[in-house]
């Protein structure tokens, strides 16, 4: 019964997300069916947990019926629109043919990695450090209280590490506990391999848009088999859920930059960027990076920019702000401060004084780049691919990817330099995890660079 309820909770998230996506992107226009489902799961998780945060602000307690009620209304509206055929499904259609041997082998490899991720996630209860100390403890508190306790942010939260961390995944875990009717911290871990699968699906279809099925499967296989990426699909850390939001947001933004008539893509990007900020604090940096990327694009294409494009950019910022404001308000009102970065003070303004930190930072960077234990030969492959295809790497979407990566890596370097924590310890503990946040974007870029005949 518990297992059935667990699957129902995953289905609920996906169904809610599917309906929100249907509103944002009428008829899921331009998406493949499986791609839409993958995006729906993360979107549903983010929106349901934002609703749960609003319950706290309205002094309401959690129960499944009340949480589901607003979504039932949305689903009813969508059903009316759908059955009156005002909004037909406009799915992306891709040619299908029989699988060749390489495709079969690649699919089996992906299937093995996915199955192994589920197995490792579900064979034991939550036990990794951050997963227990930061996230699982919060979901346990919320489940036992059937809500976010009234004085949680000003009192109770300060008994545990990092009270300022966003609550997307802890609240998703709480919702699943409510659905199961039990605090089963083993089964709840299913959420992490599901995000893993969703990232693989989104990447597959992103590559499939400009290349063959074999080619898309190769890069999906590459991502699925990266040891570090796979390890984080099972340990209940939030880096993969965060990578999902950062990746989908980036993709839809890149596609909008190429085709600015497709405004719904920008809306999806904005919502996903906001949800990235609702998943991890680093998400704020990604929101800033994506906004900066759009601004840079506007500056370099000033003659092609219409008023409508400017309105879209404004809308992009408004949507991100609307998603993040409730959480940022609670953080600010409760004086929740990040213990790793601390309060921004004058020290940040004289960051050049921290230049000595660059040495240990870049030492760790190169250690990750050339050590195959966690990344196979990914970074070496990327460097070689750029060297041998220097023009192609920065053509079309490639240049936007390069700028966005430069912005986020620059952001991480800035955080390392501004942090009061010992830089060698900080960078050693975190950089291999931070790389996961933009890893799917890197694989997508690699696929673009190595493609002989790029259509987009």
């Amino acid at each position: 019964m518990e297992l059935a309820n667990l699957f129902l909770s995953v289905l609920f998230f996906t169904f809610v997300g599917a309906n929100i996506l249907y509103l944002m992107l009428p008829g899921w226009r331009g998406l493949a069916c499986l791609e839409g489902i993958a995006i729906s799961f993360g979107l549903g998780v983010g929106c349901v947990t934002l609703e749960m945060l609003s319950f706290h602000m309205l002094n309401l307690r959690f129960n499944i019926r009340d949480i589901a009620l607003p979504w039932v209304i949305l689903i009813a509206v969508n059903a009316i629109l759908f059955f009156r055929k005002k909004k037909r499904m406009e799915l992306l259609k891709l040619e299908t043919k029989k699988f060749n041997l390489l495709e079969v082998v690649l699919s089996l490899g992906i299937l093995f990695e996915v199955s192994y991720a589920f197995f490792r996630a579900l064979i034991k209860s939550i036990e990794a450090y951050d997963a227990v100390a930061i996230y699982a403890i919060k979901s346990k508190i919320f489940f036992l209280a059937r809500g976010i306790p009234h004085d949680f942010f000003t009192g109770l939260a300060n008994n545990f590490p990092h009270p300022d961390y966003p609550l997307n995944i802890p609240l998703a875990e709480t919702f699943m506990y409510l659905f199961m009717g039990n605090l089963n911290d083993q089964l709840v871990k299913i959420i992490f391999p599901v995000y893993f699968v969703c990232i693989l699906i989104v990447l597959y279809f992103a590559v499939r848009r400009f290349a063959s099925r074999t080619y898309a499967l190769i890069f999906t296989f590459i991502l699925a088999t990266i040891p570090q990426f796979n390890a984080y699909a099972a340990n209940a850390y939030l880096d993969l859920p965060f990578a999902f939001y950062a990746f989908t947001s980036a993709l839809f933004l890149f596609w909008w930059l190429v085709d600015r008539k497709n405004a719904p893509f920008l809306i999806v990007s904005a919502v996903m960027a906001g949800l990235a900020g609702w998943t991890k604090n680093e998400g704020l940096m990604y929101c800033a990076a994506y906004i900066m990327l759009a601004v840079i694009f506007f500056i370099f294409n000033i003659r092609k920019i219409s008023r409508k494009d400017l309105a879209c950019l404004f809308l992009y910022i408004v949507i991100i702000a609307a998603i993040l404001t409730p959480w940022l308000y609670i953080k600010s009102a409760s004086h929740l401060v990040n213990t790793d970065v601390g309060k921004v003070d004058s020290k940040v303004l004289s960051i050049w004084k921290e230049a000595y930190k660059l040495k240990p930072i870049f030492y760790e960077f190169q250690k990750q780049l050339f050590g195959p234990k966690k990344w196979n030969i990914l970074w070496i492959a990327l460097i070689l691919s750029i060297i041998f295809n220097i023009k192609g790497a920065f053509r079309g979407i490639g240049k936007y990817i390069a700028i966005s990566l430069a912005l986020v890596v620059g952001g991480y370097v800035f955080i390392y330099m501004a942090s009061p924590i010992d830089v060698t310890f900080f960078v050693k503990k975190t950089w291999s995890r931070f790389l996961l946040h933009f890893l799917p974007i890197v694989i997508y870029w690699l696929a673009l660079i190595l493609k002989e005949d790029i259509k987009i």
């Binding site: 064979i123 209860s125 100390a133 590490p161 190769i218 088999t225 195959p372 196979n376």
Partner: protein, 138 residues
């Protein structure tokens, strides 16, 4: 050129991947741990990942302490993974510096002024309770 590069990189990738899978399954003794975990219930799994001895003490503690009291650990390094797991399993009991109860784990003979023995699991795992009239702000 691109095709050749992709082909070479992909072949190296697959060879390394096979090695990583073998290493993860067999060389890291994961199979032994999976075998144990597969035979355990949820409680058993929690006990396995926490360490059976510590988990046994946590269950003992949770059964002995009243709700909504503060405790502190002696014998677990603050902020260590064992400490964080213990804090997680003992909630809604809260860890505080000036506690109502001191949980002594693997520190035989430990005593604290103002506290008396409240419950004993064995010689090295026991609970001390603050004596009446002793302020928690001492």
């Amino acid at each position: 050129m691109k095709y050749k590069l992709l082909k070479i990189m992909f072949l190296v990738w697959v060879v390394l991947w096979i090695w990583f899978v073998v290493r993860d399954l067999f060389l890291k003794d994961n199979i032994d741990s999976y075998r144990v975990l597969l035979t355990r219930s949820l409680e058993g799994k929690r006990s396995y990942v926490t360490g059976d001895r510590l988990y046994e003490f946590l269950k003992f503690t949770a059964g002995k302490l009243p709700k909504e009291v503060f405790y502190n650990f002696i014998g677990l390094t603050p902020d260590s993974i064992e400490n964080r797991r213990a804090v997680y399993y003992l909630y809604p009991l809260i860890e505080k510096e000036k506690p109502d109860y001191i949980l002594v784990y693997d520190r035989p003979g430990f005593e604290e002024e103002g506290y008396a023995l409240a419950a004993k699991m064995d010689e090295s795992r026991y609970i001390l309770k603050r004596k009446k009239g002793v302020s928690s702000w001492n």
